[in-house]
Amino acid sequence: MQRFRTVEPLEYYRRFLKENCRPDGRELGEFRTTTVNIGSISTADGSALVKLGNTTVICGVKAEFAVPPTDAPGKGCGVFLSVPNVDLPPLCSSRFHSGPPGEEAQVASQFIADVIENSQIIQKEDLCISSGKLAWVLYCDLICLDYDGNILDACTFALLAALKNVQLPEVSINEETSLAEVNLKKKSFLNIRTHPVATSFAVFDDTLLIVDPTGEEERLATGTLTVVMEEEGRLSCLHKPGGNGLTGAKLQDCMSRAVTKHKEVKTLMDEVIKSMKPK
């Protein structure tokens, strides 16, 4: 059976899909077990580790000072309020080589940047310390430790969980020296306005949609689709990088599944954060 899987992977998969299930025992619309661990990296201002089945992504957020650009000092205290970076190092999968970031890493980084921008997780004003002079910049670094498909969902979740964990100290500008004074004793959480949750699908043979593809399924799929949903069914971002076409009805189907996923993820995150509160 294993030999058949290696020699004819697509046929192997088709046999399972005909029975409406997948080799790892999941149904077509079932997600893998998700585990979240928040706040494990003490050197980062906020961190989270997310595991979607075998796919493992860790997100570390570090906050630094920056001078906002002079063209929009009042409205937005900084165009680059957050700088996300997704790193797919060779240790996560043999597909990646060491060296400058490959195509997939860059696409993932841009996707995360789009999610942050579109869903306005954080208001620019919240990161402003002194209008026109000083603002916070959040460097969000996501590292994939194990690649088994569905990297975008894991990254989005890790980013959200890490941002919820970030605590920024109070900063005041000394009038005389015009230097920033940081009060490390007084820290406050970020004001997270929305909770975007990504749900990825893989398309098989032009018609069949499966949710949360593993690495092998992604390789065999003819197309992929990622839907980013916020609260109350608000669509934040839709990412369909080519692949074969989808009908409007199928797209609606995907979106309703994304709404369900959003509820599940939000519940999980609230549980984890509640369990950390006594700290």
Binding site: I41, T43, I58, G60, P90, L91, Y139, I143, L145
Partner: protein
């Protein structure tokens, strides 16, 4: 010798968490005809230190660490069994010390990297001569200390990083900086060696347990 001669040993590796991958990949241009090429890369996460590191790859410390790891593992891996192939070891510490200056020798990181790499190489099934267990040691206030914490390292005393092949007692790598009187060297070396042997006991137990569990799963 008028030294108290007692050593303090602490075997908690709270600092770097490392994740590794190792694979054999044919690399034709640099392939050696009679043995495998060992390639180690060290890259720390940008959030792993107090100040965000802007260049996690290719800087001096990463290159030096990669080279030290390579030299350590070339001594331990039976490279003759895999000619014309390449073994890649990638190490990624996720959490480091709170404030790390670039020029500061970090024996603790090196030790954690080596121990994690040993487990990973064993997990990959690459044949090794022996476990490679490492530990750092130092000399503070007339006492030899094993497994230095960040505070102890910052105290400025001599520091020693030791990688040991426990069964034969052979030293794979030994690196020391700052001045130390030769009379004290034996104590410090013994402290590091004892700690490394303790690590070996731990690693051995973990590996055996893992194999035991895996064989149960396969048996089913």
């Amino acid at each position: 010798m008028s030294l108290p001669g007692h050593t303090k040993c602490r075997t908690e590796y709270i600092r770097p968490k490392t994740a590794l991958l190792r694979k054999i990949r044919g690399s034709r241009s640099r392939a050696l005809p009679d043995r495998a090429l060992v390639n180690c890369q060290y890259s720390s996460a940008t959030f792993s230190t107090g100040e965000r590191k802007r260049r996690p790859h290719g800087d001096r410390k990463s290159c030096e660490m990669g080279l030290q790891l390579r030299q350590t593992f070339e001594a331990a891996i039976l490279t003759q069994l895999h000619p014309r192939s390449q073994i890649d070891i990638y190490v990624q510490p996720l959490r480091g010390v709170v404030s790390l200056q670039v020029l500061q020798a970090d024996g603790g990181t090196y030790a954690a990297c080596v121990n994690a790499a040993t487990l990973a190489v064993l997990d990959a099934g690459i044949p090794m001569r022996d476990f490679v267990c490492a530990c750092s040691a130092g000399f503070v206030d007339g006492t030899a200390l094993a497994d230095l914490s960040h505070v102890e390292e910052a105290a400025g005393g001599p520091q020693l990083a030791l990688a040991l092949l426990p069964a034969s007692g052979q030293i794979a790598l030994l690196e020391m900086d700052a001045r130390l009187h030769e009379d004290h060297l034996e104590w410090v070396l013994e402290a590091a060696a004892q700690a490394a042997r303790d690590v070996h006991t731990l690693l051995d137990r973990v590996v055996r347990q893992h194999v035991h569990e895996a064989s149960i799963l396969l048996g089913d």
